[in-house]
Symmetry: C2
DNA sequence: CGTATAGTTGACTCATATCAATCTACGTGG
DNA sequence: CCACGTAGATTGATATGAGTCAACTATACG
């Protein structure tokens, strides 16, 4: 429901005009789209936020780093998601392509100008920010108070909602990414997944441990003590 | 800076008109202000969000609960803070008075109507939501990746910024509240504070362990690995 | 194919939680 | 104003869930 609204927003903004952006080594310019190679940075924390992005293909992780390298991923951005929308002048996260990823670009100024004159756009901006806030609020509960098994269960429920096609979840992110999203280590994530597998709650497609099926959503929902 | 803006917003909204609200046992009606006794609930999660609040005196905690009682406090609201502002129809947290607290009430509809016609109000709403989002994002990093000592140091730095008067921090909240804010237990918080005291980084005023002075902000900032 | 990267699993450690015993401050009623 | 009771805070002893270190396996990629 919100997805449709935010998509409208993106498309409307994009129709505003072309964005003249100098390409760099990791990007291929194709009108108002960019492609980022797996692992490359889309923007860095503290960098000026001149563009808003929408994932056309691929996946993106947004994270903060502590000086010693500890990483907290705040969100994964999947196909259709808009990210990089800031109110202040700088990005508050670093965004990286998890796999080869194509994004649509929207000039931020044009969005702001539209919001100025169009109350609908303005309301959509607030709605998107609220969505992000809501996600962060739920994630605080997860990070502050849930066990490792509950966290992994919650992650699977979230991903199921967002990217399950015909019962199969093709996770684009590594165990380390999942761990940094859930405030755990990759070993703990791996053990939790193995445990859920033993318990018959999830299955792996073939031998690929990133292709997951949910065999028992009810049990998973029970573990995902959704507030 | 933002505080001033959001205050303006509140005052403007309040001038809109009186709010006829039936009092309950824990409230005293005084024009558009309410007083809540220590520990009483201001609103509950999932309740309709018809009002926005501003703390006139006292302190408030906003939290989510898991079914088994585990609690995550998302934010403390101190004098001047606005809280309970929702975009959807329901509150996403439960809000409780930490001590006897007086709040100003603003009818949400009136805010929305103002936003409709006044782009400035609309921008302020977005700005406040973004502030909340930023806080939540930083808190995710804390909850996901910081040690107990770092968390407590970060908490003290935050409170120092928000309520230190003449070098003394009179904390309104209990050790349990702090623990639920930081994703720790009250014992761990207590030990961390004792440790910071031993290290000469903080001091206690008199025998009251809730009156804290920061003796060495530099060391505290070092522990507060601020991203 | 073979090399590099990602994932799993096991053994052990450690930070924080849990359980428990004081200790202290504060509000209440005599 | 003082004694008492209660809630909050500290501190100690112990338990435990998740982290660390390490070996091994599997998968993807050139």
């Amino acid at each position: 429901m919100f997805v449709r609204i935010t998509n409208d927003l993106a498309y409307r903004a994009i129709s505003f005009g072309e964005l003249g952006i100098a390409g760099d080594s990791n990007q291929k310019v194709s009108l108002n789209e960019f492609t980022y190679k797996k692992g490359s940075e889309i923007y860095g924390e503290k960098e000026p936020a001149d563009y808003v992005y929408q994932v056309k293909a691929g996946s993106v992780r947004s994270y903060k780093l502590l000086p010693d390298g500890r990483r907290q991923i705040g969100a994964f951005h999947l196909v259709g998601d808009i990210f990089g929308l800031e109110n202040g002048s700088e990005h508050r996260f670093t965004a990286e392509a998890i796999v080869n990823t194509t994004v649509r670009l929207i000039k931020r100024r044009s969005l702001e100008m539209m919001a100025e004159s169009d109350a609908m756009v303005s309301r959509n901006l607030l709605g998107m920010t609220t969505e992000n806030l809501e996600h962060a609020e739920n994630h605080m509960l997860l990070l502050g108070r849930k066990t490792s098994l509950e966290r992994v269960a919650a992650f699977l429920v979230e991903m199921d909602r967002r990217l399950a096609a015909a019962g199969v979840m093709p996770l684009p992110m590594s165990r380390r990414d999942i761990a940094d999203y859930l405030g755990l280590t990759l070993e703990t994530v791996s053990r939790a997944l193995s445990r859920l597998h033993e318990l018959g709650i999830i299955g792996f497609i073939g031998t690929n441990r990133r292709q997951i099926t949910l065999l028992n959503r009810r049990q998973l929902a029970t573990l995902d003590l959704q507030n």
